[in-house]
Every structure is written in structure tokens, then in C-alpha cells.
């Protein structure tokens, strides 16, 4: 299925109240869903900052969470669309493989850490280490991101409509970074690169997936990537190690 912020047609709604039922039952029920399940829309009430809400899903369903979640919401997600109507704690969407996560608030540290695929959209700000060690995910942050974001980022895209904190893209591999606002500083081996037509097209595709194509001027973004000078261990680079 194509990843998009547009609502997906739901065939039914299952409501799960975490104030009344344990998290284990929620995740257990979600894990039992098959690819052809009719229970395609789940609404989770009263998350109250619980950790690992909707972690480990592997079915094309929508889970909408009304309230703030704790650490690792939708961790290792596959296929599912998880929407958080609130703020998200550390590691939202960590190691996501595919699917879609939408945080309609702010996200704490390490959002999308090590994730291999899928789309993570954060309406607010993301804290430090956003996209750390990312391995293919697309992350769109409508606000700003904290320091050490995209540290050792290997693949995927990180798009930031606001500002980036210090040491952006430190020890970067092949991930592509687009920032519209200011960058406090670049990390080791991260450099600004020319924004060519293919990069504008790539950025446009990510903005479209996030549902904000046309709302921002693509020409305002700058592209950052790896200088690839640290790809081989060498004594000349010792000051960077």
C-alpha cells in the first residue's frame, strides 16, 4: 500500500480502553490480526504515557491512539498505520520496517531510530537523536529537531521544516537530510550538498506522502549528506575518531 497521511477507509472500529484493560491484551490482540482481518480500525483510549503501545504490529490496520504515549510506541512496526493524537516518548517507531506513524504532537528522543522503512510524520518538534542510525525510513518533522539527529544514519530521508540542532548528521552514511530552517552545526563528515532536480523531486515525494506538498516552498530547503571521508579508517582522520 502506498504510504500517505490521507485517511484509509476503515471497515470497522474496535475500541480499547487502556484505563480498563492491560496493555498486554491490546498488543496480544493486535499481534493476532492477519493480513485479511476485518478489524482494520482500532481506537486506543487513555494511553496515559504507557510504553510499547502498539509495538510489533504486522498487519495493514489503522491504530489511532487518543492521548500521549511513552517509550517505543509502534516499535518495529510493519504494515500498520499508527496515529498518536498526542505526544510520543523516546523511540517512537524505532526499527520500523514498513507502514506509517503519525505523531500529532511532539516526539521525544530517538524518534525513528534504526528504522528500515515506512514513513514517520511528526507534526511538532522531535528531540535529540531523531533518526539515529536510520536504515531506510522516511521521517518528516514539521517542527524542529534536536542535537545529534541522524547520527550514523545509513539510509532513508530526514526532512525537517524547522531547524536542526547541533552536530546534525554526525558520522553520516548514505541517508539524505533536508532542512528548511537553520542548522546549529554539522557533525563530523556531514556537509551541505547541491540541491539538484532529482533531490527536489525526492523531497517533493516525501512532502506529498506527508500530506504537505504545496504548503511549503521546496526551494527553501537545503540538502545535507555524507562527505564520505570517514568511510575508511585512516590515520589522517584521527582527529575525527
Amino acid at each position: 500500500m502506498s504510504l500517505s497521511i490521507k485517511p484509509v477507509a476503515a471497515t470497522g472500529e474496535t475500541v480499547f480502553d487502556l484505563a480498563a484493560q492491560p496493555l498486554r491484551e491490546l498488543n496480544c490482540a493486535l499481534h493476532k490480526l492477519s493480513a485479511d482481518t476485518n478489524e482494520t480500525f482500532w481506537r486506543v483510549l487513555n494511553p496515559a504515557g504507557r510504553h510499547a503501545v502498539a509495538a510489533g504490529l504486522d498487519a495493514p490496520v489503522i491504530v489511532e491512539i487518543d492521548g500521549p504515549v511513552g517509550y517505543y510506541c509502534a516499535g518495529m512496526n510493519k504494515q500498520a498505520s499508527v496515529i498518536v493524537n498526542g505526544n510520543a516518548g523516546v523511540g517512537v517507531g524505532e526499527n520500523m520496517m514498513s507502514g506509517f506513524i503519525h505523531v500529532r504532537g511532539d516526539a521525544s528522543q530517538s524518534a525513528g531510530a534504526t528504522a528500515h522503512g515506512g514513513l514517520l510524520v511528526i507534526d511538532g518538534n522531535a528531540s535529540a537523536r531523531c533518526g539515529i542510525s536510520m536504515k531506510g525510513i522516511d521521517i518528516v518533522v514539521k517542527g524542529s529537531i534536536g542535537h545529534m539527529s541522524a547520527f550514523m544514519a545509513q539510509a532513508g530521508t530526514l526532512t525537517v521544516l524547522g531547524d536542526a540542532g547541533e552536530a546534525l548528521g554526525d558520522s553520516l552514511y548514505e541517508a539524505k537530510l533536508f532542512v528548511r530552517g537553520s542548522v546549529a552545526s554539522l557533525g563530523a563528515d556531514c556537509i551541505e550538498k547541491e540541491m539538484r532536480e532529482e533531490h527536489r523531486a525526492l523531497l517533493a515525494a516525501k512532502l506529498e506522502a506527508a500530506g504537505i506538498l504545496g504548503e511549503v516552498d521546496i526551494s527553501e530547503f537545503r540538502r545535507y549528506g555524507s562527505a564520505r571521508t570517514l568511510y575508511h579508517f585512516h590515520v589522517d582522520n584521527v582527529s575525527s575518531y
Binding site: 511513552g70 518495529m76 537523536r129
Partner: protein, 445 residues
């Protein structure tokens, strides 16, 4: 008058401080400007299990008959929270070693040998291969800072999960796999370009400290529906506190790896000067479990320099539930085999001392991704050698346990041991042989 031509000469004396190896390292450093990187664990002499002895049976202890009376060896790991604990037939497991640092044939051989003896193998940095899953009846999936190859499907098809905080060869260090070993397959598994030097982070990207780790473990349990035992592996540094904090974090099993434990590659200076010996770590880890009332409830696996059944028995007697072997397992497969002596010499080393595993030119075909070298290792034959070796370790351990009158190897206890040196007596918290003196017994840890 003195006859200067006939003055007796003193024998040329090398410095104990500036010994032959030290001089060669200074010359190497002066020529290159970069530190030495190698594989393996600490090579220096440190207090070890050799410094302990079993007392055996005597007037007050009754031995069991060898070849007749049963001495059990099975061990269950992960009884605290996991719905499906790991049940091993022997208390000896295979430590984490990655595909990438090792060849696919070597990983297959480890799986074959371990499975034949009813024990587990462990993945490493770089993810799980189908070969090792297929050939390992019990496979522990490592959860490392790099998260290379980490995915929920492999997490769910693992038999246990090992959260790696550190390893004995380099507590506090990350990893480096040089470009020679980053083939297309290795690169694809790690989502990296082919041929670049691959760094493994030293810290996890999404948690810091025991409070976060508790939440991380909860997430891993939720993803795997609380089925899998979760190990926490630490390098031996502050084993009392690290073990206690691992228990606090919710671990089912704690793995403590001493400084003799091997690594695929890191700085020589790191291996030899950071971390503490295995012997010094075991009793502290056990004491932490005992103080928390969790000994035998949270299982303890000890690794780093285990070579024979006596080492296994001593680790168990000090309170471990099982041991893990890495370097010895590779030697059983064929690492450093004298039949490749000429080739080791051509690489500037010699059979028995070769440790440039990171360079990918291993004549034995184990620590390499070179197809021609890899083909030298027959995984079936190598797996059989490992199974034989594991069988010998088990028989040796049983021999000692029977001599101490134990019907299960877990019944071995510190009271069966004495130490040959004051250092070992203090570290192992057992009496110096021939005395009742345990140095530091009343001085705490």
C-alpha cells in the same frame, strides 16, 4: 694491570619492562602512526581458573562412580519471565559471533556442532542468516547498538534475545569491520555500501542506563508476546553492580564476559587494559544475584577464556549456571591450525598466534569472506569437531563433579574449591590451598 681483552662479559639481558613484544610494538607504532588492531581476547597472563583446584572427595565427601552413577548436565535458561525458556542438554553455549566477522561456513559449523550436543549458538553484529537459523536448533539473537539486520521477523523466530551492553574484550567499546570483509551480502544485511569500513556503535541508540533498559526489555517482550528469554550481556567491569542492574532491568539471564573473551577486532591496548579477568567477575556477579535473592532464578552465563571441562566446572562451582565459549569453539573448527603454518608465517604471524581476523585473510577460512578461503572450511566436518570438543568438555566437567560427589554439575559449590595463589583466593573468595584463609573475606567485595 687489567687485561681489557679478557674481562668477563655479562650475559646480554633484555628488559622485563621493554620486552621483545613491547619493542616491536613501539617500532610498529613509530612506523605507522596508528594503533594496533587485532582479534581475540587478552593474551597477557591474568589470574584465571588455572589458579583454582578442586578438592575432590575425602573422608567427609563421597564420590560418585564414574561411568555408572548419573551426573546430570542439563540447564534451563530464562525461567524468570519467559513463557518458553531455553532448555540445554549441556551447560556450555556458543557465544555471539557475527556473520561478517565469520564466514557463512563457520556459522553453519557452529550451528551444526552446538545442535548435535543440544546447546545454543548466538548471532552477532550483522543480524541472523538463514543458514545459522537453519542449523541451530536453539539460536540466541543478539540485540546490539548498531541494530544491523535487526528486524521483528528474526526477533520472533529466535529462541532467545540477548541485549548486548558490552563484551569482555572491550567494555565500553564499539566495533569495526574493515572493508575487506564487507562483501555485497554482508553490506546488504547491514544496509551499508560495499567495501567501506563498518563501525558498530558503542551505545544503544534509543536507551541509556538501567531505567531505560527496563522499558526496552518490556518493549522486546511485548513484541515477542513474552515468549523469549531475554539475556543481558555485559563486559566484566563492575560485575556486582552491572548484574544487579541487569536484574533490576528485568533480565531473565545475565551474561558476564571477562577480558579473555574474544572480539572480532579492536585495539590491542583496549583488549589488554580495559575490563577485568573472568575469575574476578564470577563471584561478584553471583553475590549480586544472591543479595537480591535471585541466584538460580535469574541465570548467570560466564564467558571469557573457557578451555576445558575444569574451567567449566570451576565457573559452575563459583555459581554460574552455564558458560559460553567463543575462541575455543573457533579453534575446534580449525582456527590457527598448524597445517596452515606456512601461510600464517607468510602473513607475518604463526599458527597459534594469528589474530588479524579483521583483515579477512584467515588461512583456515573461518574469519574471512574470501570465497576461496571460506571454501577450505567444510561445515559438516568442522561441526563434528565442535561437537566432539563440546562432548569432551562435558565429560571432563562430569568427571570432576562426580569426584566431588555431585549428581548434577550445578551441585558443585565454592566449598569444593581452593586457590593456588593469594590473588585467586581473593577473587574467587575461596581459601588459599592448605589454609582456611580467604583474603579479604571480611572486607566486603
Amino acid at each position: 694491570m687489567t687485561d681489557h681483552n679478557n674481562i668477563p662479559r655479562t650475559t646480554p639481558r633484555a628488559s622485563a619492562t621493554f620486552d621483545e613484544y613491547t619493542l616491536s610494538e613501539i617500532r610498529r607504532a613509530a612506523a605507522t602512526g596508528i594503533y594496533d588492531i587485532r582479534g581475540g581476547g587478552a593474551k597477557r597472563r591474568v589470574p584465571h581458573f588455572d589458579d583454582l583446584l578442586f578438592l575432590g572427595a575425602s573422608m567427609s565427601r563421597y564420590p560418585l562412580e564414574g561411568y555408572r552413577e548419573k551426573c546430570s548436565t542439563e540447564v534451563v535458561l530464562g525461567t524468570r519471565f519467559a513463557k518458553k525458556p531455553i532448555e540445554l542438554k549441556i551447560p556450555i553455549t556458543i557465544a555471539g559471533m557475527s556473520f561478517g566477522s565469520l564466514s557463512a561456513n563457520a556459522k553453519e559449523a557452529l550451528g551444526r556442532g552446538a545442535s548435535a550436543m543440544g546447546t545454543s549458538t548466538t548471532t552477532g553484529d550483522g543480524g541472523m542468516t538463514n543458514e545459522e537459523r537453519g542449523h541451530s536448533t536453539q539460536l540466541v539473537y543478539q540485540y546490539l547498538p548498531s541494530r544491523y539486520g535487526m528486524n521483528p521477523d528474526d526477533l520472533k523466530r529466535a529462541d532467545a534475545i540477548e541485549v548486548v551492553v558490552g563484551q569482555g574484550a572491550k567494555p565500553g567499546g564499539g566495533g569495526m569491520l574493515l572493508g575487506q570483509k564487507i562483501t555485497e551480502r554482508v553490506a546488504a544485511m547491514r544496509t551499508l555500501p560495499v567495501g567501506i569500513d563498518q563501525r558498530s556503535a558503542c551505545r544503544h541508540p534509543d536507551w541509556t542506563g538501567p531505567d531505560d533498559l527496563e522499558i526496552k526489555i518490556e518493549e522486546l517482550r511485548e513484541i515477542t508476546d513474552w515468549e523469549k528469554p531475554i539475556y543481558v550481556k555485559v563486559g566484566a567491569a563492575r560485575p556486582y553492580y552491572d548484574t544487579a542492574l541487569a536484574v533490576k532491568s528485568g533480565a531473565d539471564v545475565v551474561v558476564v564476559d571477562g577480558m579473555q573473551g574474544g572480539t572480532a577486532a579492536t585495539q590491542e591496548i583496549f583488549i589488554e587494559h580495559v575490563g577485568i579477568p573472568t575469575l574476578a567477575a564470577v563471584r561478584q556477579a553471583v553475590k549480586a544475584l544472591q543479595d537480591l535473592g535471585m541466584h538460580r532464578k535469574v541465570q548467570l552465563v560466564v564467558s571469557g577464556g573457557i578451555r576445558n571441562g575444569a574451567d567449566v566446572a570451576k565457573a559452575l562451582a563459583l555459581g554460574a549456571d552455564a558458560v559460553a565459549i567463543g575462541t575455543a569453539a573457533l579453534v575446534a573448527l580449525g582456527d590457527n591450525d598448524p597445517r596452515y603454518a606456512a601461510e600464517y608465517e607468510a602473513l607475518g604471524s604463526k599458527a597459534g598466534a594469528y589474530d588479524d581476523w579483521h583483515e579477512g585473510r584467515d588461512p583456515a577460512g573461518i574469519t574471512t569472506q574470501d570465497p576461496a578461503l571460506m571454501a577450505r572450511l567444510d561445515p559438516v566436518a568442522a561441526g563434528r569437531r565442535l561437537a566432539n570438543y563440546l562432548a569432551v568438555l562435558t565429560l571432563e566437567c562430569q568427571t570432576i563433579a562426580r569426584a566431588c560427589g555431585k549428581s548434577h554439575v550445578h551441585n558443585l559449590e565454592p566449598e569444593d574449591l581452593v586457590a593456588l595463589t593469594i590473588e585467586a583466593a581473593a577473587m574467587a573468595n575461596v581459601p588459599l590451598a592448605g589454609t582456611d584463609w580467604i583474603p579479604g573475606r571480611n572486607a566486603g567485595l
